[in-house]
């Protein structure tokens, strides 16, 4: 009995070896090819956090140079930008819904997340517009723009041709990808941020010692 079991086990092992040999060969071949490519410096470079950080820094500078001062401050402080809708279309028609009848609407623009249309007066969420700007040249293996470039692309497309962007996007009801509670919280944060900003602007500048008089031009 034991001899029979041992013989069966040997046969099974031999068969497994036969079956797995081509698979092992393929794996070894891939590993050898990858090692050779790395040695030659050819192929897609790996993820480099330093490069991505530098790219994001450049993208932030570009965004700052293109959007309005309060929009930049909004992005810096809150992580998103509100863009008013219906500004780029000369027809006077609302792009997101025909039944708005002129009620002002706006979009919340997040990096690499859907654009969310909502009514600022009531906070009612209208739609999510899932849109991407994939760069298929994939210089470093990824088609994804830096965060701030993604926001700027959405901002420019909404400002320049809202209808075209919305037409290209996949429309969903709110809550498909972004938690509506998070959106409501962001709308509330935006309202508070705007009030505080307004108060700061209304407040007279603080007098610092020695700064009361006019600056000495010869200093």
């Amino acid at each position: 009995m034991t001899v029979a079991l041992c013989a069966t086990a040997i046969v099974v092992l031999a068969l497994l070896w036969e079956v797995s040999l081509p698979w092992l060969d393929r794996k070894l071949e891939i590993r050898r090819a990858n090692r050779a490519r790395r040695a030659d410096g050819v192929g897609v470079p790996g993820y480099d956090p330093g490069r991505e950080r530098r790219a994001e820094q450049r993208a932030r500078e570009l965004l700052k140079s293109c959007v309005n001062e309060e929009e930049w401050a909004m992005y810096r402080d809150l992580g998103f930008i509100r863009v008013w809708g219906g500004e780029s279309d000369g027809t006077g028609e609302d792009v997101v819904a025909r039944d708005l009848r002129g009620v002002p609407y706006a979009y919340l623009v997040y990096p690499h997340r859907p654009i969310v249309a909502y009514l600022p007066q009531t906070g009612r969420l209208l739609n999510e517009y899932c849109v991407e700007f994939p760069d298929e040249s994939r210089p470093y293996g990824s088609a994804r723009l830096p965060d701030s470039d993604d926001v700027l692309a959405k901002w420019m497309a909404l400002k320049g041709d809202e209808r075209r962007l919305i037409t290209e996007a996949n429309m969903h009801l709110p809550g498909r990808q972004i938690d509506p509670k998070m959106l409501q919280r962001d709308i509330w944060r935006l309202g508070r941020w705007e009030r505080e900003r307004l108060e700061r602007e209304r407040r007279p500048p603080a007098q610092t010692p020695g700064a009361a008089g006019p600056a000495d031009p010869t200093a």
Partner: protein
């Protein structure tokens, strides 16, 4: 006028630069503009409105670029995201 292109891993890249008043430069810019659009890029021009607000205009032809603009930004065309 500068042509900038958004690219993954780079931020923006300067892809062409020239003076539109100089014929050779303009020809080169027109060629580059067409090449970018052929590659599926969208082109936008940051502008300042009469009220002083910063806005953007999408341009589909070189002739549509305002003469006074100093930069054109190219970015990949929009595609519908997660279904």
């Amino acid at each position: 006028m500068k042509f900038l292109r958004m690219r993954p891993g780079y931020g923006e890249q300067l892809i062409a630069e020239g003076d539109v008043e100089v014929a050779d430069d303009q020809e080169r810019l027109v060629e580059e503009f067409r090449r970018q659009l052929d590659q599926g890029m969208w082109a936008a021009v940051p502008v300042i409105s009469e009220s002083g607000r910063r806005e953007a205009e999408m341009v589909r032809a070189f002739e549509d670029i305002p003469r006074m603009t100093d930069r054109v930004i190219f970015f990949p065309r929009a595609a519908g995201g997660a279904r």
